[in-house]
Symmetry: D2
Subunit: 437 residues, 4 copies
C-alpha cells in the first residue's frame, strides 16, 4: 500500500510544471459561470484522452435547473469568442447555450463509488493589470475583461485534471468507481443543484471536495480535512413594476415603485432574527427610476438571504418573499422574483475527515491543521452534493487545502502560491486509493 | 314684512337671559357624542311643549349608520348618570344605547320645506377649572369629567331651542314646512350621515346650518352667510393583530405588529399627493405592545384622511386601506379597519348666502363680513345634509355667526361671548320667514 | 399708431418661410442645456448683423451660478462637435465650457426698458425616427442623439430672432431700451437664475416671456396673455457614501447606504403637507450598490421638491435636507447634496396681461383665450426674471401663445404647428411698440 | 466529611414544611423590583437572628447605580402598604425610597470567601385567580395586584434563608467567609450592577447562583450545575418629543413624533446583523399621540438590545442610539434615552460546575443532567457578579436546579413543585462546605 502512495507522490512531483502551466492557461482564459465553454471543452478532450467515460452538455447540468443563467445573446457571443480562444472544436459544441461542465467516470470493477467535485468558473471581476499583480506581470492575466479567476477555481480545475491523470494510471489498483465532476457556476451558487437533479450523486458512497486558500496564521497545517457551518442561502433578482407619471402635475396617477422598493429594503433588513441560529439578509443593489421629475415605474434589486441551516434559510427566504410581494401590492405595483442561486448548509463527516487527515500525516507527510474541521464563511453549493450523499448514508467532506494567498478572495489582485496544486492532487488521489484499494 | 322682522327682533331681545341660562345649563351638563341623553330628552320635552311633531330615538339616526359609537357599557353607565342629572324621565328612554338626537317638525300649509341643523354634542376634553376660565369661575364648568362643550355646540343647541320658540309663535305667518334637526355626534363627524340615511333631508328645498365662532380681525362683520372648502374626510380606527413571543429566545415565532404598524405609518404619510387638490393624512395615535422583551402582538391606531373633494378623499382613503392591509400581511399579521367618522366637502349656495346677507343688513341691522363666503378649516358632517339638499336641486348654506372667542376651539379654556346667541336666533328666524312668508 | 402695427403685421407675414427654416435648423441641430454652443453662436452673429449691442459668454450667465452643469469632458466634446455642425467660428469661442446664452440690447433714446426672454435649449430625449413624426419625415429630426427640441424652444429661439429683426427695423419709432435675452438651460430650471445674478433684469420696467403650446379644447383663443401658479421648485442630486463589507461574513463592518437611502425615500415622501398650499416631492431615480453579497457603499439619487410659492418650497426643501442628512448619519454614512436646478413660483401682472390681450384683439386680430391668465403646470425659471422685475415695481407677464401640438411636451414625438411663430413675433413686437411708442 | 453532608441532608429534610411556608408567604406578599420592602425587612430580621453581619438600605445597592427605579410616589405608596402587610418595623425603615436588598456575612476564620446570590423580586404580572392555579386555590395568590412571583424568586429568597439557617449551624466546621446576597430587581436586569458597584464581589473567590425551573424532557437530572450563553443586554426607555398641530389646517407647523418613532422602529430592527455572533433587538412597546386629528407630539418606547457577548451588545446598543437620535432630528424632534437595565453575558467555570456536579451525585444523591452546562435563554444580571469574580481569578457558576413547572416563566399561571426548595438548600450548603471545609 505504501508503495502506491509513494507512486502517487513521485508521479505528482513530476507533474508540477504541467500543473502550473494548466492553471495559468485557465487563468488567462477565465470564463465566468455558464460561460465555461473553452474550459469545459478542453477538460472533456483531456478526460477522453485519458480513457474516461465523459459526460458533456445537457448530460451534466439539468437544463432547466440551471440558476442565474446569462442572456442568450451573451451566451452566444461568448461561444463565438471561445471558438477563437482555443476551445476544442468538437467538445465545445455541446456547451453552446450555457451547457457547460464535464463529468468523467472510471469504473474499476466491484466496490464503492467515490465522487470528487472541482468547480471551474471565474468571477465577474476586472483583473488588476498592475505590475505588482503576478498574473499581470507574468502575462497570464485574464484576457476576458470582467471575467477573472479571483477565487482559485483555475486551480480547482487544474487539480481535477491532475487527479484524473494520476488515478487513470492507477486504475488497475482500484476496486470500485470514481467520478470527477467539473462543476460550472459555483459563484453565485448556481450550478451544483442542477447536477444533483440530474442524479449524478445518486449511489455515491464517498464524496470529496476542496477549496484552495490561505494559510492560517500561526498554524503550519497545509490542510484542514473537513469543514462545517457555511450558511444556507438563496439569491433572488427582483423587479418591481409600476406606472410612471409627471411628479409635479399628476403624482396620484403613478404607481410609485420607489416607495415599494424603499419599503421592501427596510422591511427585508427588519426580518426578525431567528432564535435557533444565524440569519443574514442583503439588498446588494437597487436601481430604480428614469428621471428626476417622473414617478419611477421600474426598480430592480439583487438580494440574498442566508441561514445557519436550510430550515432557517427557508424562514428568511419565505419572509423576504412576503415582504417583497406586499410592498409591491401596497403601492399598486407588481413584483417579479427570480431565483438566481441557492446553497444548503454543509457539514463534513468527522469520520471521513479524520481518515483524510490521517492519510495526509502518515502517507503524504502533509501537515494537518490544529483544527480538524474549520468553520466556513459564506456559502457553497457543494453542499447540495454533500447532503445528497449523506442522505443516502454516504460520507462526504469538504477540505481546505492551504497555501499562501496574496489578496482576499474575490479581489482583483487575488492570487495564490501554486504549491497547493500538487499537494491537492496527492491528497485526492491518496484518499481515493484508500477508499477503493 | 318689516313688521314680522321687527317682531322677531323684539321677541329675541326679550329672550336673552333665557338663552344664556339655557346655554349654561347645557355647558354644565356637557355630553359628548352619542351620550347626549339628558340634552336630547330636554330638547324633545321642549319641542313637544311648543307644539312640534317630535322624532326621537331610532327615528332620528339610522341605528346601524351611526359611526364611532362608544362601548355599550359606557353608554349604559352614562344613561344611568343622565337620569341623576335631570334628564326628562319620559324623553330620555328612547336615547338609551346611544339613540340620541331630536327632530322637530312644523307644517304650516302649502309651501317649501326648510331644514335647520343644530349640533348638540360636547368634546372629549377635560375642562379647565382655573379661576380665569369663566365657566369655572361662574359655576357652569362641566360636571362630567372628560366631556366639555369646547366647540360651542351648547350654544348651537340653545339657538335651536330659541328658534323653535320664535318660529312656533309665527307659524300662522308661514307657508310651508320647517324642520329643526338637533344632531348628535358632530365631533369626529359621526352623526350626520345616519340622519341623512334615515331620509330626513329628502324633499328639503332650503337648508340652513351655522357655527358660532370668533370675530375676524379687522372686520366688524358679525356673520359670514356662507362658507366653502372644508375638506372631505374619513376617520378609521385600526387594530393590527399578530402573535407574541419572547424577544430574546424566539423572535422568529412572533408575528410582529410593531413592524407592521411602523411600515404603515411611514407609507401612510407617503401616500402620493394628488395633482388635482389638497390631501391630508394623519396617524394621530398609535399604541402597541405589552412589554419590553415581548414581540408586540397588538397595535391600535387612530387615523384620518382628508381630501379637497370627495373624490380626492376617496383616493387617499382607498390608498390608506391598501397600505394598512399590506403592511399587516407583510408580517403575517391581520388588520381590522373600522370606519369611525366621515364628512364630505361642502360649499354654500351663493344665492342663498346672498339672500341671508341681505336680510341681515336690511332687516336685522347685523353687520356682514367683507367676504360673503369664508373658507372652512377642518371638516364638518353638515356637508352630508347640504349635499343631499343640493343634489335634489335645493339650496343650502352653512353660516358663520361670529362673536368674541376666548380660546381656540377644542381648547380646555374655550368660551365665547353669548351675544352671538340672540343674533343667531334672529338670523335663522328671519331667513325662514323670508323663505316661507 | 395703427400704421406701425400694420407694418409689423405685413413684415412678419413676409417672414413666414424664414421663420420656419430657422426653427427647423435649430431643431435639426438640437443642443441641450449648457451645450447650446452652435445655437448661441448663430444668434450672436445674427444680432450683431442687426446692429444690437451683443453680450456673450460669461457676460450672460454668472459663471458659478450656473446649475446642473454637465461634466467638462462632455462640454468639450460637444464644443468640438458644434464646430463641425456649422457654429459661427467667431461667436462660438466664448461658449466653450458651457458659457452659452446671448443678450441683444437696443437703446432707442429716453424711455422705459423692456426685456424679453427666449429660451433656447433642447431636452435629453431621443427623437422619434418614425415616418409619422414630421421632423423625421421631412428631414429635420435631431442629428444629435439624446438631444431633442421636445418642448418648443427651437420655436422660442426663432421667435426671438424674428422679433430682433422686426424691432431693429422699427427702432426710430421707439423711445426707450429693449433687451432680447436668449436663455440657456431652462429645462431642469438651471439657467435663468445665473442671468438674474449678473444683473440683467435690474432696471427693467417691463418683462415679456412666452411659451408655445397646444390649443385649449373648445377655446378658439390663440393667446392667453398671462399665467400664474407654476410651482416653485428645487432640484438636488444626492450621493450617499458608506463602507462596503461582505454581507455574509461581516455585515456589521459595513456602513450600509441601502438602509440610509431607503429611510430617506420613505421620509422624503412623508414630509408633512403644508397647510397653506401645494407641496410636491419626488425621488426620481435611485441607484445603489455594487453586488448582491456586498454591503452597498454608494447610492445616488435625483430628487426634486416643489411648493405653491417660494416659502412653501423652501419648507419642503429644508425638510428634505434634514431627512437626507439624518438618514445618512443614522447609519454612519455621509451625504452630499448638490443643487441642480431651481425656480420660483410666478404670477403675471394682470394689468400687463390685459394690455397685451387688448393689443392682440384690437391691433393684431389674434383671438384671445376665455381665461386671461391660465394656470401653469410644472415649474419655469423665467420666474426669477419676472420676480426680479416685479420686486422693482415693474410689470411682467408670461404668455401662452398657442397652436396645434402633436404630442405631449417632453415626448419623443413632440411637434407643433409653425403658424405660432409669426403670431408670436407679431405679439412681442406690437407689445414692445405699445410700451415704447 | 460524609458526616457533615449527612447532617445537612437530615437538617434540610426536617425543614421542608418551613421552606414551603416561607415560599408561600413571599408569594402571597409579592413585591416587584425596588419595592421588596417587606421582603427585605423580613430577610434582614431573620439573618440578624441567625447571627449574621447584616447590610441593609444604601449599603447593599449603590444608590445612583440602581436602574429602572419606579417613581418616588409609587415607592412611597408601597412603603406605606408594606407597613400594613407585616414588614418588620425596624428593618423596613432603610428600604424606604427603594433601597431594598440585604446582604448577610459570616466570617469563620481564615479561608476563601464564597458569595451566593438569591434574587427576591416579583414581576409586573397580574396573577391568575382561577381555581386551577394552585396559589389561588390554596390561598397564597398575590395580594398585591400587578405584582406576582411568576419567575420563582419567592423560591430563591426562601432557599437563601434556608441556606442561612443551615450554614449558621455549621459555622464551626467552616474555614473562611461566606456571604448571602439577597438581590432586588433582577427582573429587567436592574439590580445586580449596583451591588457590584458597591464592591460586594471584590475579594470573592467562589460564587454560586441558581435558578429554579422546569425539568428537562427525557432527562431525570434535578440539577445542571453550570450554564452559559445567556445574552448581554441593554434596556432603554425612550421619549420622543415634538410639537402638536392641527392635522388638517397646519400639519407643517407640527414636529411629528409619529414619523420619528416609525422611522426608528424600522431602522432599529434593520440594524445589521453582527458577523461574530447573535444580536437581538426589540421595540416592545410604543405609545404615541393624543388624538386622531392632532400631530403627535410625544411618543414613548420601551426597547432592548442583546448580543452574544458584551462587545456585540455594545455594537447594537450604540447603533440603536444613533438610530433613535437621528430619527428624532430628522423630524425636528428631540429624543431622551434612559438606561433601564443591563446585563453581561455569562459563562460558568467548568471546574466549579464539575465540582458541584460531583457533590450532588456522590454526597447528596441528587441526579445531575446529561449536559453539565446548559445554554441559557434570555439575560441575567447575575452575570455582573460572576464576571467580577472571574476577572479577579475566582470561579463562578450559575446552576439550574430543576423541578416540575406548571406554566412558562412570566406567565400568570406560573408555579413550581416545591420539592426544589430542599434540593437547592442542600446543594448550596454542601458546595459551601466543600469549599470552606
Amino acid at each position: 500500500m505504501a508503495d502506491i502512495n509513494q507512486r502517487i507522490i513521485e508521479m505528482v512531483d513530476g507533474m508540477e510544471k504541467e500543473l502550473v502551466a494548466c492553471r495559468r492557461d485557465f487563468h488567462l482564459h477565465a470564463e465566468s459561470g455558464w460561460f465555461e465553454m473553452r474550459t469545459s471543452s478542453l477538460i472533456a478532450r483531456r478526460l477522453t484522452e485519458l480513457g474516461y467515460e465523459v459526460l458533456v452538455g445537457e448530460q451534466v447540468c439539468k437544463s432547466d435547473a440551471r440558476m442565474g443563467l446569462p442572456s442568450e445573446e451573451a451566451l452566444e457571443a461568448h461561444y463565438q469568442k471561445a471558438l477563437t480562444q482555443g476551445a476544442d472544436p468538437e467538445f465545445v459544441v455541446p456547451t453552446r447555450g450555457g451547457h457547460t461542465g464535464v463529468i468523467g467516470i472510471m469504473k474499476c470493477g466491484e466496490g464503492p463509488t467515490v465522487a470528487m467535485r472541482f468547480d471551474i468558473d471565474a468571477l465577474g471581476v476586472i483583473e488588476d493589470a498592475g505590475d505588482e499583480h503576478r498574473p499581470a506581470h507574468e502575462g497570464f492575466g485574464s484576457m476576458n475583461p470582467g471575467m477573472m479567476h479571483a477565487c482559485g477555481h483555475d486551480g480547482h480545475a487544474t487539480i481535477g485534471l491532475g487527479v484524473a491523470r494520476v488515478l487513470a494510471s492507477l486504475k488497475d489498483e482500484l476496486h470500485g468507481t470514481f467520478k470527477l465532476i467539473f462543476q460550472p457556476a459555483e459563484e453565485g451558487v448556481r450550478g451544483a443543484k442542477s447536477i444533483v437533479e440530474n442524479g449524478h450523486l445518486d449511489g455515491v458512497q464517498y464524496f470529496l471536495g476542496s477549496h484552495v486558500g490561505g494559510l492560517r496564521p500561526g498554524d503550519p497545517g497545509m490542510i484542514a480535512p473537513g469543514s462545517y457551518g457555511s450558511l444556507a442561502t438563496t439569491k433572488y433578482d427582483v423587479v418591481f413594476r409600476g406606472r410612471s407619471a409627471h411628479a409635479g402635475a399628476a403624482p396620484h396617477v403613478g404607481k410609485n415603485v420607489m416607495l415599494a422598493a424603499a419599503t421592501a429594503v427596510l422591511n427585508l433588513y427588519s426580518i426578525p432574527r431567528h432564535g435557533k441560529g444565524i440569519t443574514r439578509i442583503n439588498v446588494g443593489t437597487l436601481n430604480a427610476g428614469s428621471g428626476r421629475n417622473v414617478i419611477a415605474d421600474e426598480a430592480k434589486m439583487e438580494i440574498e438571504v442566508r441561514g445557519e441551516n436550510t430550515e432557517i434559510n427557508q424562514y428568511v427566504s419565505d419572509y423576504a418573499v412576503s415582504v417583497l410581494e406586499n410592498a409591491a401590492k401596497m403601492h399598486g405595483c407588481t413584483c417579479e422574483i427570480k431565483l438566481m442561486g441557492a446553497a444548503d448548509s454543509l457539514s463534513s463527516d468527522r469520520e471521513l475527515a479524520e481518515r483524510v487527515g490521517k492519510i495526509c500525516q502518515e502517507k503524504l507527510n502533509i501537515p494537518v491543521c490544529a483544527q480538524l474541521m474549520i468553520r466556513g464563511g459564506g456559502s457553497e453549493d457543494v453542499s447540495y452534493m454533500m447532503n445528497r450523499v449523506q442522505e443516502q448514508g454516504g460520507q462526504a467532506t469538504f477540505m481546505r487545502i492551504l497555501s499562501q494567498q496574496y489578496a482576499p478572495a474575490h479581489n482583483r489582485r487575488f492570487d495564490f502560491d501554486e504549491v497547493v496544486l500538487s499537494n491537492a492532487v496527492k491528497i485526492f488521489c491518496a484518499a481515493v486509493y484508500d477508499i477503493l484499494k
